[in-house]
């Protein structure tokens, strides 16, 4: 545990910690471009210079390259160090195109910040600037090589961290070029992180190109609804349009990065076809009327077919808060069934896995990254939950062995094939993890877990809140819609954000749908009430490991300003609510429905 002094503050850090991290641990900022907590050091940018006044090393040193040693006396404010950093910034800016006004990174650019912070304002060098020709890198990422400062973060991330092979660094000396062999879409499913990792505007999000500036963003901490991993994100919106999503650091979950599937998934929220108004019998209505009509229909169905002719159907993509209200609603309308799953298979699978995870043996993504023996059992992480594949790669990079149980998949790392689980030397591993999906045999896993006290499992659930709703299924004895419809008693359903297969949908005469997506259920429903997407409300999801994570409201619901008709764009009329902004979170709609039912009951008695 070396002890050193940084700017008159005594710091004690773990062996091998760099000076930069040691300084950060006591909130002393040192500018840096090439160093990144997830990528480590490169010593490429030379901007983290500090001066060592005393101790084993002296003079100007790169703080990201130098491990902290006993007795070091470090000054970050020494005039020599400050001058060094200022000059380095000036060098870095020599070939920079100074196109910040037309750069999407402007306002959130590390280079901008450090240039200003370093005090470099006027260009003194009068020579010409080196230029590069850009490459087309697919529909998601914009390439602008002129802005590059050769920090090598992108290539280190892309090839080393994410295991991509189609993007790299070419040339040498003043010709260094970061790009592909030939133009074309980046192949890595994690390529979007280049946008986050680039300290300047070489890689920018093409989907949000020229849409807004950092200070105009509506942002809030959120959770990705793409799969059951629950990666932390920060969605960015402006004028009611979801512009882009950036990764939010959470060391226990996704670390610093997210996958492209979660990142470039804005179109569903911005979709012009989203239900924006309540609809009753194909006629546009308002939420109040639709709720009233729904109540009348429930009563009418009850009288016609007797009690229990209505089912309440939730889904595994609804937020936990709304899911918790479903049993209440089912109770009030004396529902014939409470469902969170549509098929019997799904229902049984999730229930059994919830039992399994409940033993406290679930592995977080961090556990996977730190594991020394990983078994991929019957699942395809790269497709089902891409960030899990990324975590496997990190474990592999730090020396873990990866086993795949006879299954045709690809992983961004080397792996060994094994025929069965029993062939894997689990007992020899320190921190073994089994990654599976719901098709796995729980009995077998159960036995393994009993046999290996250190073993953890990471079951990949199909949707963001599969786990949370499965807990409720167990608690309230919910059945699947398939089972509920089997005896033909159910004549109507209230579907909350549920994707019901056409085969089942055909059997139900009355459908009321609460959803924010234009699903087949919504199209078939007699009553449609719009709900809000996850970025338009507060809520929480419980991920595969049983970790409840809160997501906050990013923007108000409503038709994006961009999507309004040309005459109303930009809007010139002042209203208190946005066009199409009457959508409410599902939990609020359910609470209202429950209150209306309660009021009605009280009135009757």
């Amino acid at each position: 545990m070396p002890k050193l002094i940084i700017d008159d503050i005594t710091v004690e850090v773990a062996e091998g910690t760099t000076l930069l991290e040691a300084a950060q641990s006591v909130d002393i900022p040192i500018p840096h471009f090439c160093w990144h907590p997830a990528l480590g050091r490169a010593g490429a940018c030379r901007v983290c210079a500090v001066k060592l006044l005393d101790g084993p090393v002296k003079g100007i040193q790169m703080s990201c390259m130098l491990p902290a040693q006993e007795g070091m006396v470090v000054s970050t404010t020494d005039p020599e160090a400050v001058a060094m950093r200022r000059h380095v910034i000036e060098w870095l800016m020599i070939n920079h195109p100074h196109d910040c006004p037309v750069c999407d990174e402007g306002g959130e650019c590390q280079l901008q910040d450090y240039t200003i912070a370093g005090g470099h304002g006027i260009r003194r060098y009068s020579g010409k600037k080196r230029t590069h020709v850009n490459q087309y890198l697919g529909p998601y990422i914009e390439h602008e090589m002129n802005r590059c400062i050769q920090c090598y973060r992108c290539v280190r991330y892309y090839q080393e961290y994410a295991g991509g092979t189609d993007f790299g660094v070419m040339g040498s000396a003043g010709r260094v070029y970061f790009g592909r062999f030939q133009e074309g879409q980046l192949e890595s499913p994690f390529s979007g992180n280049l946008v986050d990792i680039c300290p300047t505007g070489v890689f920018t999000d093409k989907t949000a190109r020229f849409r807004a500036r950092y200070w105009d963003y509506d942002m809030a901490p959120s959770v990705c609804p793409g799969c059951s991993l629950g990666c932390n994100t920060t969605p960015v919106a402006r004028y009611r349009e979801l512009l882009k999503t950036v990764a939010r650091r959470n060391d226990a979950v996704n670390g610093w990065f997210i996958c492209d599937r979660g990142r470039f998934a804005n179109s569903a929220v911005n979709a012009p076809l989203r239900p924006r108004h309540a609809v009753v019998d194909s006629r546009e209505s308002c939420v109040e009327d639709a709720l009233d009509t729904l109540l009348l229909r429930i009563h009418a169905l009850g009288e016609l077919h007797g009690p229990g002719s209505i089912a309440v159907v939730g889904s595994s993509r609804m937020a936990q808060e709304a899911a918790e209200l479903l049993p209440q609603l089912a109770l009030r309308i004396a529902a014939g069934a409470l469902c969170y799953r549509t098929t019997r298979k799904e229902s049984t699978e999730t229930s059994s896995f919830v039992e399994l995870v409940h033993t406290g043996s679930s592995a977080s993504q961090q556990d996977v990254r730190k594991s020394d023996c990983i078994v991929v059992y019957g699942c395809d992480p790269l497709n089902e939950a891409p960030m899990m594949a990324m975590a496997i790669r990190q474990a592999w990079r730090s020396g873990a062995t990866v086993y795949v149980i006879e299954h045709k998949i690809t992983l961004p790392c080397e792996f060994t094939l094994r025929a069965t689980l029993d062939d894997v030397p689990l007992a020899e591993a320190e921190r073994p993890v089994i990654i599976c999906n719901l098709s796995a045999e729980t009995d077998q896993l159960d036995k393994l877990l009993e046999g290996h006290s250190r073993l953890k499992i990471a079951p990949l659930f199909p949707a963001a809140n599969s786990f949370g709703t499965a807990l409720l299924m167990r608690e309230h004895g919910a059945i699947s819609l398939e089972e509920a419809l089997a005896d033909g008693e159910i004549k109507g359903i209230i579907s909350i954000e549920a994707d019901i297969p056409a085969a089942l949908l055909g059997k139900i005469p009355f459908v009321a749908a609460l959803d924010w997506q234009a699903t087949a259920t919504v199209q078939a429903a007699q009553i449609v009430i719009p709900t809000t997407a996850w970025v338009e409300m507060n809520g929480s999801y419980i991920n595969y490991e049983g970790r409840a994570q809160h997501f906050s409201k990013v923007m108000n619901p409503g038709v994006p300003v961009k999507g309004l008709d040309p005459a109303g764009h930009p809007p010139h009329i002042h209203r208190s609510t946005a066009t199409g902004g009457e959508a409410l979170p599902a939990r609020q709609l359910l609470a209202r429905l429950i209150k209306l039912l309660d009021d009605g009951n009280r009135g009757l008695s």
Binding site: T165, D166, M170, Y177, F181, Q182
Partner: protein, 158 residues
């Protein structure tokens, strides 16, 4: 396409290396000798042989200055412009050769025989100024006559 025998030789070379990447320079050199310069097609072939992606081969190809990713003449003249050679007149040597060949630095003579390139260091500082033609290195090229002789020698050889 490369001949099968050559492919076999290269594969042997690769399999004798600890990692494939280690053999990349040899493979690229061989392909360069075969094609005259390392064509795009050659990069893809090298990648196929080495089990790397074309980009990864390209990274190496563009890094080394004696792997030519653009067409060159039969003989590539590397004239050292590094500090030792520069102080011994390497700069004027380069200029004089350019005058002699009537080409600009970096260009190929119209007959396709010579390509003139500057070069960082040939490791021949003891005999500065140094130049390299093809695979043969020449030290102490202090006079234009000497350079002319060397060039004529190569021209004769063809």
């Amino acid at each position: 396409m490369i001949p099968e025998t050559m492919r076999q030789e290269l594969q042997d070379r690769i399999s004798s290396a600890i990692t494939n990447r280690e053999a990349a320079v040899d493979v690229m050199k061989a392909l360069q000798t075969h094609y005259g310069w390392l064509t795009d097609e050659a990069v893809v072939e090298a990648a196929g042989l080495l089990g790397l992606s074309p980009l990864q081969v390209e990274e190496l190809a563009t890094f080394y200055e004696m792997i030519y990713r653009r067409p060159v003449g039969r003989y590539v003249i590397h004239v050292c412009d590094s500090i030792s050679c520069w102080s011994m007149g390497g700069e004027s040597l380069l200029r004089q050769i350019a005058g002699l060949l009537k080409v600009t630095v970096g260009a190929t003579t119209p007959d396709g025989l010579f390509t003139l390139l500057p070069c960082c260091c040939l490791g021949n500082c003891g005999q500065a100024p140094a130049m390299m033609i093809g695979n043969s290195i020449y030290g102490g090229v202090t006079s234009l006559e000497k350079a002319t002789d060397i060039l004529h020698q190569h021209r004769r050889n063809t």
